[in-house]
């Protein structure tokens, strides 16, 4: 970890990479991380399998219609209403819930490991600054997160191809990179939350409980309240559909409830998980509203969610460095 041959910047970089390596290896050795990852992988596989099986038969129906239309010399053939990436809806939701817990667990382990093994004073006796320590931990955890997210993405793409009988094209690969990139950032934010809460707590497990409490509010309670307050979600199949109102009518009616809708939207806006979900769902064509838009149009449409996806990691990243700087060596 010590180095005197390179420039200051070089040796600092090398120290950060060494710390990141240590973080990566330690996280992979953790049994609890392995259990959580296994749960995420299994539920993702199940959700992709279930969605792909239904998609396969719908795709076969559409292909049969298309062949019949071509054979019959039909001039205008209706485009396919199917959207391959929308099958990832469940996988994205699982990343939002379980991915966040994995992030918190990595953050918790990153701090508690050094405390339990009493290696923090040893580390700080070497020429390692708190900033390098924070950067090394975050970089190592990010590498774990990227490995996990990439494995989940590859599994999902293979599931879509093999089970759904439809393979992603180049443009869809670009969208997948954006979805899973956002997922890595999202999990990284929860890593910072777990590490900060643990570092600030005098008893590490209390920090873990605090971080899990925040996760519960941000990932489950706020979206749940926002969802339940949505008038359209009060009746199976949708209230406006039950009242035989189309999209334009819905907009006209809702104009009379702007205060209610603003409060409902603000509750959802307070949830970082909702911003990740909205961005990922738009990229995956989950909602009809965004279908047919190009990636640049989608990025422009989702600029608010993108801002949150940038601001949160920046704020929590800075907070992580500050907390690591103030962290007592002996606890």
């Amino acid at each position: 970890m010590t180095d005197s041959t390179g420039t200051g910047f070089d040796s600092a970089g090398r120290r950060v990479i060494t710390l990141a390596h240590h973080e990566y290896r330690s996280a992979l050795r953790s049994r609890i991380v392995a259990i959580l990852v296994a749960i995420l992988v299994v539920v993702t596989a199940a959700s992709v399998y279930i969605a792909s099986t239904a998609y396969r038969s719908k795709l076969a129906d559409y292909e049969a219609y298309r062949s019949a239309a071509v054979a019959g010399g039909l001039a205008k053939i209706a485009p396919s209403p199917l959207r391959l990436l929308s099958l990832l809806e469940g996988a994205v939701e699982y990343l939002g819930i379980i991915g966040a817990i994995i992030g918190i667990t990595l953050g918790y382990l990153s701090v508690s490991r050094e405390r339990t093994h009493r290696t923090l004073p040893l580390l700080r006796s070497r020429p390692v600054s708190p900033g390098e320590l924070a950067a090394g931990s975050a970089l190592g955890a990010l590498a774990v997160i990227i490995t996990l997210v990439a494995a989940t993405a590859v599994m999902a793409v293979l599931g879509l191809g093999v089970i759904g009988n439809d393979w992603v094209d180049g443009a869809q690969v670009g969208r997948l990179v954006l979805i899973y990139g956002a997922a890595a950032i999202y999990m990284g934010v929860f890593f910072c939350l777990g590490a900060i809460a643990t570092a600030r707590a005098s008893i590490a497990v209390n920090g873990l409980m605090f971080a899990l409490g925040i996760w519960l509010i941000v990932a489950l309670i706020l979206p749940q309240i926002g969802d339940t307050l949505d008038a359209d979600n009060q009746v199976p199949g949708g209230l406006f559909a039950a009242l035989s109102l189309n999209r334009a009518d819905e907009t006209t009616v809702l104009k009379k409830f702007t205060t209610y809708e603003t409060i409902r939207r603000d509750i959802e806006e307070a949830s970082f998980s909702k911003h990740f979900e909205r961005f990922a769902f738009a990229m995956a064509d989950v909602h009809e509203k965004y279908r047919g838009l190009t990636v640049s149009e989608l990025l422009s449409e989702k600029h608010n969610d993108i801002i949150w996806l940038v601001v949160y990691p920046l704020v929590l990243g800075i907070a992580l460095v500050v907390v690591f700087r103030r962290m007592p060596l002996l606890t």
């Binding site: 539920v43 309240i225 969802d227 339940t228 209610y260």
Partner: protein, 305 residues
């Protein structure tokens, strides 16, 4: 002796302010469920009136108000979602603290210097969790009854109060299951974080993974009291549906929807049949906890963080 251990545990939870935190959280849950139910219902009735006016102006006939068929207890259906979502996690913590604190604080070693059997010890801890959860749920029941009175402007009928009582009795059983999960994982390892995270992993499996496997319920769909029915005609579900009785979260939600009359009625025997797997799993976990406590070495204290 069971009573003494239970009383000590309740006192310990009160001193740590865990009891207050749990009580406040549960009461907030009940109040939020009431406010959301009232607010969304009121808004939706106004949305319906607005839609009727708009359709009438066009000379079209409005369909029947979909809310006319909603039962009076439907406004509290959010509480049925908060129990497996927030309540279960709090119950995990109650169960976790019951044993983890004794291990890390060294009280376990002190307790077993007296003539206390391991079974008595576990039963005392279980009785304490049962008491704490019962107190907070009774308080929630009172809030629920008050919400019904405020919204409907009349005292709830005996039938509705009985249904509310039945729902909270079911919620208590469901929470006891998770308190025992917290206890069992705390008895399985000396590392508090591993115990807590293992219990949360178990909660994730029961709350999100199993309903996905047995009924195709997406995670976010599990969070809304009103969810669209999922097509489960695939061959995959023909196999996995056999395990549906063991998907205790689904069984809890289905039974509570029947009790609150937010789902189509079914025979009492069928509803009881939904509760049995929850009771069975709770009983099974109690047996496991007793076995684990018997094997545990209390001569060593000071759990790892």
């Amino acid at each position: 002796m069971i009573g003494a251990i239970a009383a000590h545990q309740v006192l310990s939870l009160r001193r740590q302010r865990t009891f207050t935190a749990i009580l406040v959280t549960f009461l907030s849950m009940a109040a939020v469920a009431g406010v959301i139910g009232w607010s969304s219902h009121r808004t939706i009735v106004r949305v319906y009136d607005e839609a009727v006016r708009m359709l009438a102006a066009r000379g079209e006939r409005a369909p029947a108000n979909p809310f006319d068929i909603k039962p009076p207890l439907a406004m509290l259906s959010n509480m049925a979602i908060y129990v497996p979502l927030i309540g279960a996690l709090l119950a995990l913590i109650v169960g976790h603290l019951s044993f983890a604190d004794d291990q890390s604080g060294g009280q376990g070693r002190m307790i077993f210097s007296r003539s206390v059997s391991r079974s008595t010890y576990v039963l005392g801890k279980v009785a304490a969790a049962a008491e704490v959860l019962a107190i907070v749920l009774v308080a929630c029941l009172l809030i629920g009854a008050a919400s019904l009175f405020v919204v409907n402007d009349r005292v709830p009928s005996i039938g509705n109060l009985a249904r509310l009582g039945g729902f909270y009795a079911l919620a208590w059983l469901y929470l006891m299951l998770f308190a025992l999960v917290g206890m069992t994982t705390a008895l399985m390892t000396t590392r508090r974080s591993v115990a807590l995270l293992s219990a949360i992993a178990f909660w994730l499996v029961l709350t999100f993974a199993l309903p996905q496997f047995t009924s195709g319920l997406a995670p976010q769909a599990s969070l809304n009291p009103v969810s669209d029915p999922v097509s489960s005609s695939q061959r995959f579900f023909e196999i996995t549906a056999k395990a549906r009785p063991f998907s205790v979260t689904e069984q809890y939600k289905a039974a509570s929807a029947r009790i609150l009359e937010t789902a189509p009625a079914e025979s009492t025997a069928k509803t009881i049949g939904r509760v049995l797997p929850i009771a069975g799993l709770t009983g099974g976990l109690l047996v496991i906890a007793m076995r684990l406590a018997r094997r545990r070495d209390y001569s060593r204290s000071g759990a790892d963080d």
